[in-house]
């Protein structure tokens, strides 16, 4: 972003990579896949790089409003300094926080999830998707809570899967009734309370009931949880967990 500004340019969109997308080995692949698509579609974008910091979402959900607001205000100062207008992110938690919780603290931007952004590229004809290797494959989509219920985005990811000429199969609990993967509300960072099952295993069973070849996700945390669930069920050989951005990038051989 700093480089762009130095050149006197303002990008079309700021890509908020997020902590998972920056540091987590699995999520970094999603980040790179998304960047490949952006480049293919000639989208001028920028990232904050080392000037980006946690949005504060896990702190807020854990109850630490202080830490959340500290993070939020620091980020807002940076974003406002760069005069960011439109932000895209591949993490529904960053998406929700930036979109809904930053405005009250002075950060007002147009924030979209990467599935919505990809859908708009498609609608505008800037990106074409052909089925490629996913033609006819059974794909089920796991709704991230912070994309679906929290912000009512259900169709964009599904529209993209259908564009791949894949067979979209719905789990018995989907869309507004979708079951959480177990990572939200800062659960990602702690052990679960005593119970009789892990939530991600319960959710993976929902997914496996649809006999999918691929479980599509739209959130790096869901991705981790579902991948772990598949390992728990010893199905790594048969079922893959992939982000929507990866599906599209792979279909285009990007």
């Amino acid at each position: 972003m700093a480089e762009m500004l130095a050149q006197g340019k303002q990008p079309e969109v700021l890509f908020w990579v997020g902590c998972a997308g920056s540091f987590d080995d699995r999520a970094k692949k999603i980040t790179k896949a998304f960047v490949r698509i952006l480049n293919r579609a000639n989208v001028s974008f920028a990232v904050l790089g080392t000037e980006e910091s946690c949005t504060g979402d896990p702190a807020k959900r854990a109850g630490n409003e202080f830490l959340f607001q500290m993070q939020a205000m620091m980020n807002i100062e940076v974003l406002n300094a760069y005069e960011a207008k439109k932000i895209v992110t591949a993490c529904p938690h960053c998406f929700n926080t930036l979109k809904n919780e930053y405005p009250e603290l002075g950060g007002k931007y147009e924030v979209v999830h990467h599935t919505e952004f990809l859908k708009s590229l498609l609608d505008d004809g800037r990106l074409t998707i052909e089925g490629g290797q996913f033609k006819g494959k059974r794909i089920t989509f796991h709704d991230p809570c912070y994309l679906g219920r929290a912000n009512n985005v259900y169709e964009a990811p599904r529209d993209l899967i259908l564009k791949l000429d894949a067979e979209l199969v719905e789990m018995k609990r989907s869309k507004a009734n979708g079951l959480c993967c177990g990572a939200g509300g800062a659960q990602m960072f702690k052990d679960a309370e005593p119970g009789n099952k892990e939530i991600n295993v319960e959710r993976t069973e929902d997914a496996l009931e649809t006999k999918p070849e691929i479980i599509a996700a739209g959130c790096p945390f869901c991705n981790t949880m579902m991948t772990d669930g598949i390992k728990n069920k010893e199905k790594e050989g048969e079922v893959k967990v992939m982000d929507i951005a990866e599906l599209i990038a792979n279909a285009q051989d990007l």
Binding site: S22, T50, C54, M70, M73, M74, A150, N177, F189, E198
Partner: protein
């Protein structure tokens, strides 16, 4: 009818409505124990919500069987209560079927009351079977053992008794209407598609006995209704009234947007202001109450959260969709609401017993009712909020209590503390160097 009956009836009404009124005042007083939150914005969207969700039952039908049965009972309840107007006028003025002059309209009205009464009976019996024979998981859940389980069944029994009395009342009336040459004041009025089948029950009884029975049914019916109305306050059944304000005042923001703590914003702004004098004494405000972060008791919750607690009818849709509960954790969103109400009632009784002042009782909603283990099991996924047919938010209470645990007591689980320390130190929930954020670019 002698005037004695009318006077007795008037006294019954005054007692019934009078006692109800005192309890309504208690409910309002208890809800006002909560902190303020502004929900007066956007009346149009709020009105639409109320019309769709409370009046139109739009969220009930997400579960079609329960939804359809509920709509029958709901419509039955609302429509049959038109009959109540006639009963009250008849009772006060000694008239009999005062609306009979409506002719055909009256026939249609009575006929529809009867059909609805039968449908309500069927629905209520189905509800009873679902609870007690089939034992649907959400009704067999440990939250509902003891008093709450009995409460639910009492309500169903009440409805069975009231509907039966209504039909018996009509059947005996019809029997006397059919006496050749007429009998006493029993004019021919109304159409009785259901109670005509009950009417033969009275064959062989003297007309005087049937008339006595008819009067007994009439009195039991209205007395039953008044008792039921007064039972509301002591039961989960308040939702029939509170669903309306509850949906009106419900949160309109996206479910993912958690409220902003203004008190924190002030402090954070001060901390980040380079011109602030760190050694300056805080401005003295005589009336300032030291703000407490989060909630440990009902007085820390806002009034909408307390209204939520009174509105909850313990249907358990929230709990049955909660990922933590499904996987055997202690958290049950329904229990969060039930505990909040129980504690609010306890605080209310304390205030009543101490002439309007709350005397601390060494108990709090946190720990004595809701344990940290329950609170930390929540994934904040909003399934409970989405499911609630009357827009209750158990999640907002869970979050406010987590805030208290973390900001007032520093009592977060260890790994959560580690996560927060990482965010403070290196701007990410994991221990990675801030300078490595862009490394993915070259990998």
């Amino acid at each position: 009818m002698s005037y004695l009956d009318n006077i007795l009836f008037a006294i019954l009404l005054v007692i019934g409505f009078g006692y109800f009124y005192t309890n309504v005042k208690k409910i309002i007083r208890n809800i006002n124990l909560g902190t303020d939150v502004n929900r007066s914005d956007n009346p149009k969207a709020r009105g639409t919500n109320m019309a769709m969700i409370a009046l139109g039952q739009s969220k009930m039908v997400k579960r079609p069987i329960a939804g359809a049965l509920h709509i029958i009972v709901y419509v039955g309840f609302v429509i049959i209560n038109i009959e109540l107007l006639e009963i009250i006028i008849d009772g006060l003025f000694g008239t009999h079927r005062v609306f009979a002059f409506l002719g055909t309209t009256y026939d249609v009205l009575i006929a529809s009351f009867e059909i609805l009464a039968l449908l309500v009976l069927v629905a209520v019996i189905s509800f009873w079977i679902r609870r007690n024979i089939i034992k649907l998981k959400r009704f067999a859940n440990p939250d509902l053992t003891g008093a709450p389980k009995n409460d639910a069944n009492y309500i169903l029994y009440f409805e069975v008794v009231l509907m039966t009395l209504f039909l018996l009342m009509n059947a005996s009336d019809l029997h006397l209407q059919n006496v050749p040459g007429g009998f006493s004041h029993f004019i021919k009025a109304g159409s009785f598609p259901i109670s005509q089948f009950i009417e033969p029950l009275f064959n062989g009884m003297s007309n005087e006995l049937v008339m006595l029975l008819s009067e007994i049914f009439w009195w039991l019916h209205i007395t039953g209704i008044l008792i039921f109305m007064n039972y509301l306050y002591f039961s989960k059944h308040l939702h029939i009234l509170l669903a309306f304000p509850n949906t009106y005042f419900a949160n309109l923001n996206p479910q993912g947007q958690f409220d902003n703590l203004e008190s924190v914003t002030k402090e954070v702004k001060l901390m980040m202001d380079p011109n602030a004098d760190p050694f300056a004494a805080a401005p003295v405000d005589e009336n300032a109450v030291p703000s407490k972060f989060g909630a440990s008791d009902v007085q820390d919750l806002n009034w909408v959260q307390l209204l939520n607690a009174y509105t909850c009818t313990e249907c358990g849709r929230c709990t049955s969709s909660c990922p933590a509960n499904i996987t055997g954790k202690k958290l049950s969103p329904r229990k969060i609401m039930m505990d909040t109400r129980d504690r609010m009632e306890e605080v209310g009784k304390n205030i009543d017993a101490n002439k309007g002042i709350f005397i601390p009782d060494n108990k709090t909603l946190l720990n004595d009712y809701i344990t940290p283990e329950e609170l930390w099991a929540c994934t904040s996924c909003n399934a409970c909020v989405e499911e609630c047919p009357v827009n209750i938010s158990p999640l907002s209470i869970i979050m406010d209590m987590r805030r208290y645990l973390v900001m007032e007591q520093s009592a977060a689980p260890m790994p959560i503390n580690a996560m927060m320390t990482n965010i403070e130190n290196n701007g990410a929930p994991w221990q990675y160097n801030q300078q490595d954020r862009l490394n993915w670019k070259n990998e």
